[in-house]
Subunit: 399 residues, 2 copies
Amino acid sequence: MPYYIGDVIKDEKKLVARTPEKFRETGVDTRIGIAAASIDRVNKNVLLSDAKSISYDILALGTGTTAFVPKAPGIEKEGVFVLKTLPDAIAIKSYLRDSPVRKALIVGAGFIGLEMCEALSSRNVQTDVIDLAPRPAMRWDPEFSKTIHDVLTGHGIGFFPNTGLKSIEDGKKFRLRLNTTEGDTEADMILIAIGVRPNVKLASDAGVQIGNSGAIRVDFSQRTSDADIYAVGDCCECYHRVSRKWTHIPLGDVANKQGRIAGTNIGNGTAIFPGVVGAQSFKIFDLAAAATGLDETEAKQAGYFPASSLIWGNAFAASLPGEKKLGLKLVADRATGMLLGAQTIGVRSAVDKINTLSCALWNGMRVEELAYLDLAYAPPFSTAWDPIHIAARELLKNL
Amino acid sequence: MPYYIGDVIKDEKKLVARTPEKFRETGVDTRIGIAAASIDRVNKNVLLSDAKSISYDILALGTGTTAFVPKAPGIEKEGVFVLKTLPDAIAIKSYLRDSPVRKALIVGAGFIGLEMCEALSSRNVQTDVIDLAPRPAMRWDPEFSKTIHDVLTGHGIGFFPNTGLKSIEDGKKFRLRLNTTEGDTEADMILIAIGVRPNVKLASDAGVQIGNSGAIRVDFSQRTSDADIYAVGDCCECYHRVSRKWTHIPLGDVANKQGRIAGTNIGNGTAIFPGVVGAQSFKIFDLAAAATGLDETEAKQAGYFPASSLIWGNAFAASLPGEKKLGLKLVADRATGMLLGAQTIGVRSAVDKINTLSCALWNGMRVEELAYLDLAYAPPFSTAWDPIHIAARELLKNL
């Protein structure tokens, strides 16, 4: 009988299917709210925090990630949050509801930090964001980061670059004071959004191999170095088809796919997770941002010789009304002419360009071919020469 | 010196760049409003309708298509239109402006017919459409055609299936009477929208080969059977990468690409047009419809053994507000598991799914791999399992 060990929030309507009762109906026993303390791989037992143990034939690890919190003085103060789990979100919403939050500070201008800029600002909370980096959304080209920066500014959100968190203390005007490398500022709430770390202790303590990325090493079947232990989701690595390296890309869609692959293999089927190309997207106010594959730095690290093009185009015919601007950057390998990556920003279609280009990356397409790729043209939905074609032609000049 | 022979509408602001003066500035001589009567391939001369001639080293044919008009009595009457050229569009707009059109009848429920349903209906013209086929947009699955039919009905547009045009005469209540195989009806305006035919007479009279599709045969360089004569655009064939046949797909984006390929080759460059996968789309009111590759009938004709799946999914997270429904049908080959085609209908993203799937078709992807394709997931833009993944998994059950 398979076991489920973990937290379930029974109050959340959407999670009803995960209650112990529901699991039991389908023949799955659950141990809710009990931690797995260690794995005895020799005797094939998991020791629980209540000193009981469960034996296994096949063990699947889905230990996820934990939001990274720096060891800064005062970081444990009330009003300082991370946003990783559903309880984190509930805690933030409760705090916003129970005590008037006039101003919020976000540490980290990545996906979560930027999405929370929109969420808090939309609740009329004055919001600023700091980052160690010189630009928000550093993965995107400086020209696109500038667009994001402009959107923040346009919504009254301050972005403070090259700024590190030093400590948090009680504030005077607002409840908390954030001391940074560039001076002090106050707010009623602070959100730490500087990334996540995979939860690998249970695995590594048991001698299960950890990959170079710091996440659990798995093969294409989602098996770890122990053939009876699988790992899936944010705690484990996935194969990047462009960098040809095993990487740690903790995203929900990847986790879903890995879960299905592991489940199929555990159930005596045969399934292979073919890897990722690094497709990702986020929304900030009316702006869509998406990326796939490698940027120039990652391309160099992977042994390629990157060249790039960046164009601004229209999502649909210029003669039709409506916001249609989008930017597209392509990165390719000078040596082979192969597409290596893409970034977009602008209207919603920006994300869809990235999906088409993810499929191109998946198949190792060359830029030359991309310049003539057959796409569905109709004036309300596209331009006769799609931004993909235009950017590909530009890039060919640089190869 | 290259020549341009054809019609230019000087009044249209957008076409200024095509006036003889503009061409002459760039070193191109033009003969506007003069037809090319015949090609003397031996002496490499084009005889013009004014009995003059122009010699050539390389000749490029871009003779396009003509809207097909059946030989029905009364078809030449005032108030009967086709919509192929800019003058056609101007004539329709003038007619609508100069004489009150209370009711319009459209013959043909393909792209042009359906788009004109929206255009006329939006001008408060009561509009009906007839077609020989049992459904509108026959290329789409009956379930999707039904959605299109429902949209027509919802906008007060009558669709009359299995109905052929017999003749047109003067009307009583309205200006024109249309006699059909299923009875008579009257309207102030009739639009014939039953397809186009490639203009190949100039080429075929000169002994240039015509392909099985009826359009001018070309190779991957856009050369015809005469190495000194190129053909581009709607008058010529293109290679279909899925059916592996030369086909006639007269679409603007394909024509643009072919023109660039021919121009590069004529200018002593080297370029290959890699063909099409049949990507296409149209909009009818708020509904987007798109397709790519082959439907089941075409797949059988091409020697495949088609199986299919059809699902309804969401364009983005169900928890977010807004219209998000879209339908997706996939067709694949039982023998190889290869994707053969796709059709979508619904919100705008439907078209973008088709673009991603066009890229998959272009690369000969198998459905098994499609089920795990890496796409950019974020709740405002997609679902963790994209409709593409869901439809691919469904299809795998049928292979």
